[in-house]
Symmetry: C2
Subunit: 331 residues, 2 copies
């Protein structure tokens, strides 16, 4: 009968069963062309009989090829990330890689820690929207192939979602509707995306001659958006561009509480298209392309692993405005 012990069947047991050396069993799996077809068959038969499954870990130790990669995100539960995670997953799977997922909870320390924990058992790491300092990121990149998403550190390959283009379109869109005074509700100060969006809205406003002010929602959350509403209204603006969709949604709720109709009296634009058309009224937002970013980051990482060269590649994904129902003519 087939062995069923918890410990698992080893290469030695198969070797004995098939009457060959351990190395031959190994080769039957890794380089069958080196062995005669009959031997391979005999080994496979013995392996099948015993229920042998190669030990991933042991193999990783001697080859240094782990067949694993890690993906670290600040918050799994933020709707921006799940589609990205999923895409990365699928892409990794296509090349037989397993994915470790890390959640840093928006905490740089935690991120650092996770990086250390994973680094011993993966071939490469993808850091999405890291909150870590450039120096620490660079340090980790020395130890192990690293690909960044939405962060620009010199010399490290990256995938950037350029929300600047979409934000510019959004600003134009609001100007077209006659808005003259708008607010940008900013996100985490350590976020590269936030800096980029903030700069884009500033640039576009200047060009279009709009009056622009800032309100800060330090974390991207529904509550933060809700709480920002009074400050937004105090600015005398007629439209707001929010750091992300979740914040925008909070703003919508807050406006609703205060009886301000959207888009009749006030227009709102989100960013990242994380909620899709799921909301009522549906949110005008900037596309995020997070799915492509996830997929691209993985294939870029695999490419780096294969070529050994640390190519300083950057992929930039442009974004566009998605017009739905929360924007309209200025009152």
């Amino acid at each position: 009968m087939a062995a069923e012990r918890k410990g698992g069947v080893t290469i030695s047991q198969v070797a004995k069963e098939a009457g060959v050396a351990r190395s031959s069993v190994s080769r039957a799996y890794t380089r069958p062309d080196m062995l005669s077809p009959e031997t391979v068959e005999r080994i496979k038969a013995a392996a099948g009989k015993l229920g042998y499954v190669p030990n991933h870990t042991a193999r990783a130790l001697s080859t240094g090829r782990y067949g694993n990669l890690a993906l670290i995100v600040p918050d799994v539960a933020n709707p921006f990330f799940p589609p990205m995670i999923r895409a990365a997953q699928v892409e990794a799977d296509r090349s037989d890689f397993c994915v470790f997922l890390g959640n840093s909870d928006e905490d740089p320390e935690k991120e650092d820690q996770l990086l250390g924990r994973f680094s011993g058992q993966v071939e490469g790491i993808i850091l999405a929207s890291p909150r870590l300092s450039d120096e620490r990121i660079a340090a980790h990149a020395l130890l192990r192939p690293l690909v960044l998403i939405n962060r620009d550190v010199k010399g490290i390959p990256k995938v950037l979602i350029d929300s600047g283009t979409g934000i510019a379109e959004a600003t134009q869109h609001l100007a077209d509707f006659g808005h003259r005074n708008i607010v940008y509700v900013s996100g985490p100060s350590t976020s590269w995306s936030n800096k980029q969006r903030r700069a884009a809205v500033r640039r576009a406003s200047k060009k279009l001659g709009l009056e622009l002010s800032f309100v800060s929602a330090s974390v991207p959350s529904f509550e933060a958006g809700l709480q920002a509403v009074d400050a937004i209204l105090a600015k005398g603006a007629t439209a707001a561009i929010a750091f992300d969709d979740v914040t925008a949604q909070g703003i919508l709720a807050g406006l609703g509480e205060r009886g301000v109709s959207v888009p009749g009296e006030f227009s709102v634009v989100g960013c990242d298209d994380a909620l899709g058309p799921l909301t009522v009224p549906s949110l005008t937002t900037v596309s995020s392309r997070s799915i492509e970013a996830g997929k691209l980051a993985v294939s870029l990482l695999l490419e780096v692993l294969e070529s050994q060269a640390v190519r300083d590649a950057s992929y930039v994904l442009e974004t566009h405005l998605i017009i739905r129902s929360t924007t309209g003519k200025a009152p």
Copy 2:
């Protein structure tokens, strides 16, 4: 200067630097009490100087303790899962475990494959809402500790979210509002949760003397909800209980398109509280406790690992109705 070679610093290098045997370095980390305090300190100093990080994989090979666990879900992007994933992550982290994440894409085959791929490098696996057959699940459970979420297979430890209690409350809530004819919009047929919810709404309706009919939305998605609206209205019902929040959201959108006001003319109840209060109007729903489920599943798994005994434990989490703004008096 600190070594910077890609390969990483090994225990031997540290041993040489500190002038001790490899075993002492190992013990400095695993059983410092066996060494004199000065020696430990000297080793740690040398390790720090060289930038030594213990190799997780090598350790796993010799101890058989991988320090990894896998979590497999049908769809990372379904908002029900991210909070659960996050909670599992955090709980695993507390015990220094790393988490592999698998996405089965709602495909039983894929699930089976992932299970196989992971099983060589983890100590245990958590299967959330599996679509796999009972037999295959049982087979995998023989090889390696397994904990289920929202699936009931005899002899395997599990965490069940009992949405029955919440659904019963929802039905009662609708009856209290004078609804006499309601619809249950069902989810995936292979889903244990769907079976359970369907049974609960049937039981409660019978007890309360409500007229109940069924509409099927085979996958839980916004579109499926949207498309179910005509069928729902055709039943002559005044309220619907949906398999989950995403479906409910689709139903809301569909009703909006047809000019049916909510909750004035029609009431809608979701399930899983996956969207929180993020929507407008905010959705009356059944709490999901997915966060607790994720956390519990991990601690249960760790317990099983520790005790070696395959306890046939079940944790059942009761749910409750969360009343928001999509339910009201029957027209």
